[in-house]
């Protein structure tokens, strides 16, 4: 980790992580109660990646992000409101995508989120396109694509990283290595120890970072961003992290070895940052608890609001297909 961030930035990261943790828990409940249907892919445990990344992204200047279906945390970190997101997951017209996308397909252009892609690898070629716009127009913007540890096995991932390297695009490829792709441990489906080890095939930097440390993630993404904006091309970043829950829906994650979850809970990203801030005299435990209580209140308010929203009118089903 390079130099510590300002107290204000830390505070914002901490608060956002707490909010993400809170809403994900509520979403799981709503899913089990059948209020949210379909499927969900929650990110508890991975919040540091979301806020570390988002602290670098400057949507106002054209930076964009694509990520995966495990995208609630990223969307919130970038600035999507809980209300808009929860309403989307309930299929309500007030959702960010008018209820047409759902949990797996969040788009929030004002905050730079092009989409949370549900086909593995599919977002990364699109990220390059956003980077191409930046390069062609000389805007200095960057495009960041987030993916999981199972994703480097798919062709689209390879083609995207490769093209970005050949064209020196201002792309950043950020892996959330949470040890599993669905129910398969990383090592069962990948031939190299680290995702970052693959960077050698593209002649680009491959960086490993502690995904539980928001500031470390920030620093790694910031370095990659400077490189991208300077025209030096893409970076592959691997954040080592962990998802506390199963892959999706009701997966009990029985494939995880005994004790693994507990060990990771010891390195909880919220606790890590909170402890550091307490040690630095920037926050008190009471204030942290206050943030949690506030997040719970906010989440409940968002849910109540979303529940009260209407579904889209039936005719809407045929709108928004062609311009």
């Amino acid at each position: 980790m390079s130099e510590p961030l300002s107290a204000a930035m830390r505070q914002q990261m901490l608060q956002r992580m707490i909010e993400i943790r809170e809403i994900e828990g509520r979403i799981q409940e709503l899913f089990l109660e059948n209020v949210i249907r379909g499927t969900t892919h929650l990110c508890d445990g991975q919040e540091a990646v979301s806020v570390g990344m988002a602290a670098v992204v400057d949507a106002a200047h054209g930076d964009t992000v694509t990520c995966t279906y495990r995208g609630h945390g990223h969307a919130l970190a970038l600035g999507l409101t809980m209300r808009s997101m929860v309403a989307e997951m309930m299929g309500k017209v007030s959702g960010c995508c008018k209820g047409k996308g759902g949990s797996m397909h969040l788009t929030d252009m004002p905050n730079g989120l092009i989409g949370t892609f549900a086909v593995v690898g599919a977002g990364l070629p699109v990220t390059n396109g956003a980077a191409l716009t930046a390069q062609t127009k000389g805007t200095g913007a960057l495009a960041l694509g987030i993916f999981g540890d199972g994703t480097p096995n798919i062709g689209a991932w390879h083609e995207a990283v490769n093209l970005a390297a050949v064209w020196k695009l201002p792309s950043i490829f950020l892996c959330e290595n949470n040890l599993y792709g669905e129910y398969s441990p990383y090592a069962d489906t990948a031939p190299v120890e680290n995702v970052a080890d693959r960077a050698c095939a593209y002649g680009i930097p491959g960086v490993i970072v502690d995904g539980q440390d928001a500031e470390a993630v920030y620093a790694a993404v910031k370095t990659a961003a400077d490189r991208a904006r300077a025209g030096d091309g893409p970076t592959l970043i691997e954040a080592k992290t962990y998802r506390y829950r199963g892959h999706s829906r009701t997966d009990p994650a029985a494939y995880r070895p005994e004790g693994e979850l507990d060990a990771w809970l010891q390195r909880d990203p919220i606790n890590i940052l909170a402890a550091r801030m307490i040690a630095d005299g920037q926050i008190t435990q009471a204030a942290v608890d206050g943030l949690k209580a506030q997040a719970a209140t906010d989440a409940q308010a968002a849910i109540d609001w979303a529940l009260a929203q209407p579904h889209p009118p039936l005719d809407a089903v045929h709108e928004d297909i062609w311009v």
Binding site: R37, G91, G102, V119, H318
Partner: protein, 326 residues
């Protein structure tokens, strides 16, 4: 006769064929140790071991290609693509390679490969995990395309698919996995590919439907029978080969055709059935051929919208009444 689910019929067919023929192997993403994301294939890994049941990386091109290469060299692989929508990332291996290799090689090669995938909407999986994808495969001669609608057909047709020497795309409707039905107890319940099933007899109109749409057609037929309109419902079971003879015989009797499918209008299987009938039996038609489809629709997440888009009872009834002009 035992009563089992659509899901259980899949794993039973696989287990029976793997027992019967050691050349049958099975692989795909999380199909082995975890028993599949839809929990369709539990127990196979434990029973047949890691050489014959394999979990793969997320690499659909590599998966299908490995199936093709293994089939060409003497195995009889069954592979799973999980959601049928993902076939789009590897369509080349399916329609340009698997389907054409026999032809291009002048018949030197055969490709006894079965590609399983779960398709269909209604469960809130939104636009990229809900499509019915038959068209991609029907449009590629060399493939066979199977769309089972009940546990007995899943069992009998999957066994046929695995025994078939052609590449077969076997599409399971994910919303039907929990549906139950009776199946024979013996291990030789084989349903031939290319033989339609007349699900219900009637005189007024022929309804051709597949998979979950059979249930929708049944609901419509129940209601219509109250009005004295009897529907004949035909389940083609396989779209390639397509049992047009049974459909045409029915239309010759009823004079009216409605197709009910859970796919996009343009290019859907309904248009193939409809045009074959209008080409081969137009003089039997006493009303327009009406297709009930998704139209030019994309499947939305929102529940009321999704249910509105996917053909339902009221739309089938309206279609029947339109062709009957009542």
């Amino acid at each position: 006769m035992a009563t089992i689910t659509y899901r259980e019929a899949v794993v039973r067919a696989l287990a029976e064929e793997m027992d019967r023929d050691s050349d049958v192997i099975f692989f795909g993403e999380d199909v082995g140790k975890a028993g599949g994301v839809f929990k369709v294939t539990p127990g196979l890994y434990e029973r047949f071991g890691p050489a014959r049941v394999r979990d793969t990386p997320i690499s659909e091109n590599a998966i299908v290609g490995a199936g093709v290469g293994a089939a060409v060299t003497g195995l009889r692989p069954v592979i799973e693509l999980m959601f049928a929508d993902f076939a789009a990332v590897t369509l080349d291996q399916i329609v340009n390679q698997a389907a054409k290799m026999r032809y291009m090689s002048g018949g030197q090669i055969k490709v006894p490969l079965t590609i399983r995938a779960a398709q269909g909407g209604g469960a809130g999986f939104a636009s990229q995990h809900s499509q019915c994808c038959e068209t991609w495969f029907m449009h590629a001669p060399g493939l066979k395309v199977v769309v089972p609608s009940n546990p007995a057909d899943v069992l009998g047709l999957l066994k046929s698919a695995i025994r078939d020497d052609n590449p077969v795309v076997f599409l399971e409707h994910k919303v039907q996995y929990t549906e139950k039905g009776e199946v024979p107890d013996h291990t030789e319940h084989v349903v031939p590919l290319g033989v339609a099933n007349i699900v219900r007899r009637g005189d007024a109109v022929t309804i051709v439907a597949t998979q979950r749409m059979i249930g929708v057609a049944q609901q419509a037929a129940d209601e219509l029978s109250g009005e004295g309109i009897t529907c004949e419902i035909i389940d083609p079971r396989t779209l390639v080969p397509l049992d047009m003879a049974t459909i045409i015989r029915s239309v010759q009797k009823t004079g009216h055709l409605v197709t009910v499918e859970e796919a996009v209008h343009a290019g859907g299987w309904g248009s193939e059935v409809a045009t074959r009938v209008t080409d081969e039996a137009i003089w039997s038609l006493e009303g327009p051929v009406v297709r009930v489809t998704l139209g030019a629709g994309i499947i939305p997440f929102s529940e009321p919208l999704e249910h509105h888009l996917i053909p339902h009872k009221a739309r089938v009834i309206a279609a029947v009444k339109r062709t009957l002009a009542v």
